[in-house]
């Protein structure tokens, strides 16, 4: 998918639940239509984020594996 993210959040290495918390905090400050790129290596948060961001008006566009236990998630603010 060819979406240019407006912001990048690198939460690789962070302990539970920092990846979820930081992602939601960032989304809250964003404008409608903007896209957030999250770099993450915590599998539980990767699986929890698609549902979790809905409450702050986010929608996961893609989850791409970029390495061993590393993912790039693109989230759009609705």
């Amino acid at each position: 998918m060819d979406v240019k993210p407006n912001y990048t959040l690198d939460v690789r290495g962070e302990v539970c639940p920092v990846p979820d918390v930081e992602t939601k905090r960032k989304l809250k400050t964003m404008q409608s239509g903007e896209v957030l790129e999250v770099l993450i290596d915590y599998a539980l948060s990767k699986e929890r984020i698609p549902q979790g961001v809905k409450e702050v008006g986010g929608e996961v566009l893609t989850i791409e594996e970029i390495g061993p236990s590393e993912w790039r998630i693109l989230i759009k603010k609705l």
């Binding site: 962070e14 302990v15 290596d41 915590y42 699986e47 698609p50 979790g52 236990s69 590393e70």
Partner: protein, 331 residues
């Protein structure tokens, strides 16, 4: 005997890693994210164990051994443990299995947890136990499926009410079943076990653990204490020490097999201090409260032990308080 502990631990480690079960997340998500996925997984494991433990005890394979009821210790220790697991980034089993996944912070949290718990249980901090009083027991003429010491049994809801333990066990299982299948489950795309398969697998490992260790099902706190003591002194390794070692080995094998192994290091140096402080609080809390989230929640609630019910309530309250303090307060 101890090799069985290692095997059960490896099995437990694989299931924890594939199910991503974490009680820290389970308690927090249901309150702050309206996400009940992991709590339902835990509830199903507890349901399977409630029936399983009572069944294998009724068949005479084991005696049920509820944990000692020391109300003040379970209140204070439980709350401290609950706060500690938020700081440490995982519950006692969570930090243990994540060592096998390559989390450097979990090694620090696990060691500080184990060292503190060891100091509280028979070490230099042993005196703190006297602050919380003596265990409250009940005298039973016929202990039945329970393990009695001099006619005294650690209390459960059934012994408190003086009724057949199966009545309470079945009512509890029905309540859990209504929660699991009668309420809406948060959607989640998992790459490992889902909440049904993960919950059943965890419950079965718990029953195998009880049949193998005999004196109790699964635990973490006693295992860390034994692992550290047996390694650094003349003490011998025991079942539960090997079980904790097995969890790390099992999670490591599982992460390698599924290509999820990675050494993970946080960027902010403060995180290291935070997880060590979390481990110390958890070690103190579980040390005095007679158990952690595995001893009291996963293995203790199926007994309907008063100690485990009280400890679980304060684990949850401590968890909610610290999560609010760290992440919600400033918004």
């Amino acid at each position: 005997m101890i090799w069985q502990g290692l095997l059960v631990g490896i099995l437990f480690g694989v299931v924890l890693q594939r199910s991503r079960m974490c009680f820290n997340s389970a308690f927090r998500d249901v309150k702050f994210s309206k996400d009940n996925y992991l709590l339902k997984m835990a509830a199903l494991a507890i349901l399977v164990e409630t029936i399983g433990f009572h069944l294998v005890a009724s068949l005479g394979f084991i005696k049920l051994n509820p944990l000692p009821f020391i109300p003040l210790a379970q209140i204070v220790g439980g709350f401290l443990f609950g706060m500690g697991m938020v700081l440490a980034g995982g519950c006692a089993s969570g930090v243990t299995y994540r060592i096998g996944e390559g989390y450097i912070t979990s090694i620090l949290a696990g060691l500080s947890f184990g060292i503190t718990a060891s100091a509280v249980r028979g070490g230099k901090l042993n005196f703190v136990n006297s602050w919380f009083g003596k265990p409250i027991t009940v005298n039973l003429q016929d202990p039945g499926i329970y393990n009695a010491v001099d006619g005294k049994v650690n209390p459960t809801l059934a012994t408190l009410l003086g009724i057949n333990p199966w009545i309470i066990a079945i009512i509890w299982a029905i309540i859990l079943a209504i929660y699991i299948w009668g309420t809406k489950t948060t959607e989640r795309q998992t790459t490992g076990l889902n909440y049904i398969t993960g919950g059943i697998a965890l419950g079965i490992v718990g029953i195998i653990g009880y049949l193998s260790q005999k004196t109790y099902a699964l635990g973490i706190t006693g295992g860390w204490i034994n692992l550290l003591r047996a390694t650094t002194t003349e003490t011998s390794y025991n079942w539960i020490g090997m079980e904790v070692l097995g969890i790390i080995v099992g999670a490591f094998i599982s992460t390698l097999a599924y290509k999820e192994f990675k050494l993970r290091v946080p960027k902010d140096p403060k995180t290291y201090v935070q997880v060590i402080a979390g481990g110390i609080l958890m070690g103190f809390g579980a040390g005095v409260a007679a158990g952690c989230n595995i001893g009291h929640v996963l293995s203790g609630l199926p007994h309907l032990a008063l100690s485990s019910i009280l400890a679980t309530i304060f684990f949850v309250l401590g968890n909610w308080f610290m999560y609010w303090y760290l992440y919600q307060r400033k918004q």
